[in-house]
């Protein structure tokens, strides 16, 4: 197609509407123009991300600190491996797409069908991966991000002590019990055992049938929610948490072992950005914030107003850019499916060409192209 530019045409023929000066059909040209405008959108988003990063005073999160989980691998530290898998999936589905386009140029309907099905499957795997990654990002780690006494923020590393059970001490409505459980009266806490509603064997997690004993995911959820809200108190060895309805629970949990804190944002002379605090002082600083009883000293996971990984804009850009890209993948899969149905129905054969496959291919490759940049600027740099 490329060799025709060298032939001499008078400008009346070239631009008079008689031929395509670009040697391309109207549809393909318009797909290209659309992709340029879409590329400007993503370019603008990534540039805005760069702007925020360059003005940020603290320590921006690194990809391998945030993304080091792999499905079914639990807490095993596998930095960037899952993102690598997602990238590979997208590259492969781009390859199957271009193979479908090539088969289209040979009018080989069977091959086009085969490669388009492969492309759609790749698209679904990528979308599923993104759902998993978002879910992990939103739920966050066991320790979260901690706000120190002077307002500085630090991320935490260590070994988490699992929760055995939460035992309901003062249910909602038993105001006086709740008061006791809070311990604000300052009296001895020894008699609190007498108030315990549950008579389960605490600490062994065998109380599933007893609704007053919470274990597993439910216990985790209540515990983390209470910490975020500042509804956690410690008297001696006894830790109490309360949920939003005012139910008070005693916590049976193994000890956390905090190994290090990394200062992300410093708001006093005491800390500098990027400083790493280790050992006992890390443990003390974390526990002080954990049991302070103030809300938002520990931040878990991510949403649009805050996240445990870095500045609020980090989460916002993550959600917006990967979300917008994911939306493109989703619409790409849908358009691919529609064209696949047309191929199966013999529409392209009747037309005598498979240009529609080429056009949806352009869109699909564009999705891969955007991911190449998102991958570099979100996960690597």
């Amino acid at each position: 197609m490329g060799g025709h530019a060298s032939q001499n045409l008078d400008s009346a023929t070239m631009w008079g509407g008689k031929i395509s000066p670009f040697g391309s059909s109207y549809g393909k040209l318009m797909m290209w123009f659309f992709l340029v405008s879409d590329a400007l959108t993503f370019g603008g988003l990534l540039t805005a991300y760069g702007f925020i990063r360059h003005t940020y005073q603290g320590e921006w999160p690194v990809g391998e600190e945030v993304f080091h989980h792999f499905p079914f691998m639990g807490e095993t530290h596998l930095p960037l491996i899952y993102v690598a898998f997602m990238t590979f999936i997208l590259i492969v589905s781009s390859v199957t797409m271009v193979l479908a386009v090539e088969a289209g140029h040979r009018n080989d309907r069977k091959a086009v069908t085969k490669w388009m099905i492969a492309t759609v499957i790749g698209g679904f795997i990528f979308l599923g991966s993104q759902v998993w990654e978002w879910s992990h990002f939103i739920h966050g780690s066991h320790f979260g991000k901690v706000q120190l006494a002077d307002g500085s923020y630090a991320t935490v590393e260590g070994e988490y002590g699992a929760i055995d059970s939460l035992v309901l001490v003062a249910p909602h409505g038993h105001a006086e019990h709740a008061h006791d459980a809070h311990g604000h009266e300052g009296h001895g806490h020894g008699d609190e055992h007498g108030h315990e509603v549950a008579h389960a064997d605490h600490g062994h997690g065998h109380g599933e049938e007893n609704e007053n004993v919470k274990t597993g995911g439910e216990a985790d959820h209540i515990y983390r929610h209470a910490i975020s809200a500042g509804h956690i108190h410690k008297h001696g060895d006894e830790v109490m948490v309360a949920d939003d309805e005012g139910n008070h629970y005693r916590v049976y949990k193994q000890e956390n072992k905090i190994e290090s804190l990394k200062i992300r944002e410093a708001y006093s002379e005491a800390y500098t950005v990027g400083q790493v605090i280790e050992g006992d002082s890390a443990q003390m600083l974390y526990d002080e914030a954990l049991y302070s009883g103030s809300p938002r000293r520990i931040i878990f996971g991510a949403h649009l107003k805050d996240n445990e990984y870095g500045p609020v804009q980090y989460g916002q850009f993550f959600f917006f850019i990967t979300g917008f890209h994911g939306f493109h993948v989703f619409s790409g899969v849908i358009i691919n499916l529609i064209i696949l149905l047309q191929v199966l129905g013999g529409v392209m054969e009747r037309r005598g060409h498979y240009e529609m496959v080429e056009k949806v291919g352009l869109y699909w490759h564009f999705v891969d192209l955007v991911w190449v940049f998102v991958f570099t600027f979100f996960y690597l740099i």
Binding site: G2, S20, G23, S24, S25, G43, M97, H105, H365
Partner: protein, 125 residues
């Protein structure tokens, strides 16, 4: 003959541009070679991402090599997978020229401004 929008010259239409089984073999070979290149670059990127930390002295070099590798990958995707390299020169540069020019301008102006804002925040906050 109805007026068609894909006439290139004389009796040639772009939509009729089919290729033979033999030409297809060549194209597929090229596709697989590009696949291997893209996969290798990605693997190298991941390895470097795990190996080097932001506070390493060499980080500035690593960062720029990430950017260069990304542009190489993008080049392969656009020119080979999206066939822009096989299109007419005027179409290729109509797509690439304005975009690259504008993005270079936008990045330059935004990052320059961002660095200035950073300096001012350090100075006055």
């Amino acid at each position: 003959m109805d007026a068609r929008d894909d006439l290139i010259i004389n009796d040639q239409y772009s939509l009729d541009a089919h290729h033979s089984e033999e030409a297809g073999k060549k194209i597929r070979r090229k596709i697989w070679i590009v696949t291997i290149i893209l996969t290798l670059i990605t693997a190298v990127e991941i390895g470097m991402g795990i190996q080097f930390k932001r506070h390493d002295d060499i980080w500035e070099v690593i960062k720029w090599s990430f950017i260069v590798m990304t542009l190489v990958k993008a080049g392969y995707i656009v020119l080979v997978f999206m066939h822009l390299g096989d299109e007419q020169k005027n179409l290729k540069w109509t797509i690439l020229g304005p975009y690259l020019l504008f993005m270079a301008y936008l990045l330059f102006i935004s990052l320059t401004e961002a660095n200035y804002v950073y300096d001012m925040l350090v100075k006055y906050l």
